[in-house]
Symmetry: C2
Subunit: 429 residues, 2 copies
């Protein structure tokens, strides 16, 4: 038995606002941050988990983790993993804390950190990368980790089992394929809204030279500038896939009108065209702007929102977020929902640690759940990876399958100290 003996939280922030990396129409000065939790055990293993924020309020997530932690400290890892659905239900249904969400906002971000830490611990105890741990689960073990509450009108346990069983015999083939060629990715970091035209042009050229073949730009503050940015990117990347991200800035009618100006650029999708809560709004936009696709999810609070985005035929691309959803258990639920509705999963990443996390989820999706790479691509942004012990690695525009034990989220000791807020070196200077 492995008993969890303590949970310690750490407020980690990178001063990305100093360079406008990560800037978009709504988040104009993000400091990419992680509310980290480290679970210690009696056997000497550590499980590390994180939720992502963009600066102020990261401490609120740490404080929320501290309030949830008593629900797992003192428990045996084997108990938590044997009935993952019960473990997840316990964290999301505390009789008092639930009021703060339910299953959304700070308390759900904190849930993600703790849940991700338990899976990291499990993978390290088993000496496997997270994706391998999940791919080694039987279909029954896989679904036993999922809380199907509020999902059964769209997907129940038996339907999920059918999906998983159909792909189980061929899992090894797809693992071998990914280990050979990697998982397809696209690059966001050429098109941050705070960057100048010449910066965007230079970054596109560099990215092409590095093997990138799929790109995304930020849009949404000014039509003329959006058109100009798309022109520049099209000039640089030719007819390679190009996506655009509005980061929730428009109303529904405004989104539809704005997109008529971007029609010439053959965009694969427009991302977050309006409020992330507006399921019916996304559906209306999608109907109006086809064949341009609609993508959303990085701010979709939980599996119930994703269920409805799928039921309402509101999205062409399902963008799970490793930390906005309540950690691995809920991510697996959404992978299954998307497969049931035939919608490709293209995870959100780019912030601190998100690329490291979602590479595992995309592998799990292909190997166990969807069995397809068609129209799939996982976001990548090229910054802050230098702080990780086992950073996400890209080769020729594709994620290289990670092989170290755990979920790739451990920070280097020096980075941990340097980025600690407010006392780390980068904040004192």
């Amino acid at each position: 038995m492995t008993t969890i003996t303590s949970a310690r939280t750490f407020d980690i922030r990178a001063p990305t606002s100093r360079t406008l990396a990560g800037s978009d129409a709504v988040h104009q000065d993000p400091d990419y941050s992680g509310a980290y939790v480290v679970l210690s055990t009696d056997g000497g293993h550590e499980g590390v988990g994180m939720t992502f924020t963009i600066g102020r309020g990261n401490d609120l997530c740490c404080a929320a983790i501290d309030q949830l932690a008593p629900l797992i400290v003192g428990r045996d890892l084997e108990e938590l993993t044997a009935d993952g659905a019960a473990f997840w239900r316990r964290l999301t249904n505390d009789g008092q804390l639930r009021w703060l969400g339910p299953e959304k906002g700070v308390i759900h971000l904190a849930t993600a950190a703790l849940v991700n830490a338990v899976w990291d611990l499990w993978a390290k105890v088993d000496d496997k990368p997270l994706w391998r741990l999940v791919c080694d689960l039987t279909p029954e073990q896989f679904v036993d980790s999922i809380d199907f509450r509020y999902l059964t009108d769209a997907l129940d346990r038996d339907e999920a089992l059918d999906l998983l069983r159909a792909l189980e015999p061929t899992r090894a083939d797809r693992i071998a394929e990914l280990e050979r060629i990697g998982y397809p990715a696209y690059l966001t970091s050429a098109g941050w809204l705070g960057y100048s035209e010449s910066q965007v042009r230079d970054l596109c050229r560099q990215a092409l030279a590095d093997g990138w073949r799929s790109f995304k730009t930020k849009v949404g503050i000014d039509v003329a500038s959006d058109v100009r940015r798309c022109e520049i990117m099209r000039e640089e990347i030719g007819d390679l896939p190009l996506m655009a991200d509005a980061n929730q800035v428009w109303d529904v009618p405004q989104a539809i009108e704005w997109m008529t100006h971007l029609e010439p650029f053959d965009l694969r999708w427009i991302e977050e065209p309006t409020s992330p809560d507006d399921i019916l709004g996304h559906a209306a936009i999608r109907r109006a702007i086809a064949p341009i696709g609609v993508a959303t999810g990085e701010h979709a609070a939980n599996r119930v929102i994703f269920k409805q985005l799928l039921q309402a035929e509101a999205i062409d691309y399902c963008q799970i977020d490793a930390c906005r959803l309540g950690g691995v258990n809920e991510v697996l639920a959404v992978l299954l929902l998307a497969a049931e509705f035939g919608v490709p999963v293209c995870p959100h990443a780019g912030g601190l640690g998100l690329c490291e996390y979602v590479q595992h989820h995309s592998i799990i999706d292909y190997v166990c759940v969807s069995g397809s790479l068609d129209d799939r691509t996982t976001e990548f942004a090229d910054h802050l990876h230098e702080h990780f012990v086992n950073p996400a690695r890209i080769h020729e525009g594709r994620y290289v399958v990670p092989q170290s034990a755990g979920s790739s989220i451990d920070l280097l000791p020096d980075s941990f100290a340097e980025l600690s807020y407010p006392d780390g070196g980068v904040w004192r200077r």
Copy 2:
């Protein structure tokens, strides 16, 4: 000019779990709590605001208020009230804090406290009760307090103005009517799930003797016990209106099946039959169980969720919450949306301070927005009112129109000290 010079927060909790008051199918041991904020000004006025929680995590809301407060401290009240939409947008769109919601969970609960405090301050400076302050606004001033972002596909500024202008000439008549007869209410506190059958029976008799004519019970854990509770209440209250509240406990198919067992009891509505995020689920349940109505809203995170509940024809009753929504500005937006769609607003109340708040909103709704009392009733639960300087008052089952300045949310100094967590007297004993 009145300048806001400081914002201080206070963690106030009542140990209601000791008596099971407030218990339901999901929240089995609530300690009704308020994260309070007191705005001080250079002129000696104080504005008091609160958000409601049920215990653990109330401190997270206080900490979130502390993070938002710098956005209003140092500002002039007149600036905030002259352009309420801009003030509200500033609070909900901080470039970093927004990530924690957006507009949901802890950060939005904290927004509610601050926004409500600004309105309380405004009402006290003008020496009016909150409802009177709003009823004295012109239609233009009323809509200028609303951020229409994400609403314009359902309701824009001009449509809102039309609604308000149509009722403006007759506002005084409705105020006079309410001051004469009060605003219709219903009683929840006879039917908490933790209460015994004989307790429920005794409470119904007492309530009838006190003049109550409309009741609600909790359901959702056990069909047989729900049927028994409805039988008892029907025996006691005859054919007076009876509602039931499931507090999110069911899946969609389960809700539909469960309600067949409660069909004999002529329920006016079933409240929160499933996840508060499940707009399409509520719509499916409503279609299946008509003529029993569907009510929800106390956990509807923001105006975008309400917009969709109305667009999808998912609810018969719109249950705004004074603190789940981002304070008065967003409450006014939802009153207008509900009127536009012809759905009656029946506010959620019952927790600490919520009755005190929503009495103002219901008066505003009748006087300025809907102009109707048909099928309207505002929740009341009979506990904790003794802690307020100007508590909500009921006469013959109707709210008495409050006349003191402000939003009725000030606590008595002794109660403030007694309920302070963790050092107040009630927590030390």
